[in-house]
Homo-oligomer: 243 residues x 2
């Protein structure tokens, strides 16, 4: 036992993408804290560890819980799927722990969906790209819309996280409508669902078609730049080597 | 031996960030192809493997070499530091191999510098962000400038790859001057050099100071959004939980 907090990214779920650093931190921990779905992804191997959680949208309480457990002298892992520093709890944990320099907080990065999903589709993020979350729980929709417009104006590849959920089934469609104001309908796009998990599926389509696709909170969406092509059935953004 | 190509991301260099999938692919390979620096990062463990390379800027030839080796019935790993799908050779390999469906090409993602560097600094990419390379070897500077302006207009966190090299020592300074047209000089920024390697160093500064910093091809630069703060000595982009 050693009073400290690891903020651990476990990647998409498949153990083949869990880094040795993350594995080591989980094993060194006395208690694992996380949304139950993420803890379940760790499987049998860690089922014996003490596991704690707080409900969805109680993220601040979850970080406070980590501090409380560390205060008992424990080593704590706050577990995120993907990378905790990409739409995860790393920033909130650092904020909540700001006045506790006696409790070291270490962020351990993981393979985020922009990388794992890209590898499934081919190489869509092989040149300048951006990540935009369509969740308006914590970000006003006007900000999301402004970023979509800026990303299109900059000819970035766009990776969309949280494209839809039960409460916001229309967000992806709304985003596509915004992008179609300036991008061509034939622009190549891709979707990957349940990356590295049971039931993984992926699909390549055009931007015009994308607005009619089903998406959920386990879907990651890729929208090509002007350098993106479908090559041999893969979604590929060229770096310019062939010019 | 099995005729196939893995395009493998080994992360920043530290074995703690090499995924099990990458490790397995390297071990299953008869030959490792890559820029010598990346192959050296793999260390003793893979020194016995046949290793091949082509000079810098001979990337197309390197991909053709992979096809030629696979054609001999070999399993080939084309090795990149970080993620091969992020400014690496994944897209070029898929392009070069497009007419060879008999040779399966699998992309294995890795921890790219935007993620590993972010974890060193704190949590700077914890909300919408974009990656921009300042290398104008394959991209006209006008495109790079357009993307910097769009990223600033969209209030994205910006991660800069290839901020400078011996032949382009002024690129970071030029980029900062462009960003200062619309962003405040006190905007928090960070630099990380040699992530996960000997001689790693990191620093937090303001955007105004960033233009005077030394950078090289092993430096990754982070420029905050309006939601980025320095909290307890870490660079943190808030997701909005505290509002």
């Amino acid at each position: 036992m050693d009073k400290r907090i690891f903020v651990v990214g476990i990647g998409p779920g498949d153990k083949g993408m869990l880094t040795p650093d993350a594995y080591k931190a989980l094993h060194a921990s006395d208690v694992l804290v996380g949304y139950p779905l993420y803890l379940d992804l760790l499987g049998e191997e860690f089922a014996e560890k003490e596991q704690l959680s707080t409900p969805m949208r109680k993220e601040r309480e979850r970080c406070v819980l980590c501090l409380q457990e560390a205060d008992k002298g424990k080593t704590v892992s706050l577990v995120s799927s993907g990378d905790p520093g990409v739409y995860g709890l790393a920033s909130l944990m650092l904020e909540v722990g700001r006045d506790r320099p006696d409790i070291p907080i270490t962020v351990i990065p993981g393979i985020t969906a922009a990388l794992s999903g890209a590898a499934v589709l081919g190489a869509p993020v092989n040149h300048d790209f951006c990540l935009i979350s369509l969740s308006d729980l914590l970000t006003p929709w006007e900000v999301i819309e402004k970023r979509l417009c800026a990303a299109a104006a900059g000819d970035f590849v766009i990776v969309i996280y949280n494209p839809a959920s039960r409460k916001r089934p229309e967000h992806l469609k709304k985003a596509v409508e915004i992008l179609l104001r300036s991008l061509p309908g034939e622009r190549p796009c891709g979707l990957v669902e349940n990356i590295g998990r049971d039931g993984m599926k992926s699909e390549i389509c055009t931007l015009a078609e994308l607005g009619r696709k089903e998406a959920n909170m386990f879907t990651t969406v890729f929208i090509g730049s002007s350098a993106t092509e479908v090559i041999g059935g893969r979604l590929v953004t060229k770096r310019g080597y062939s010019r």
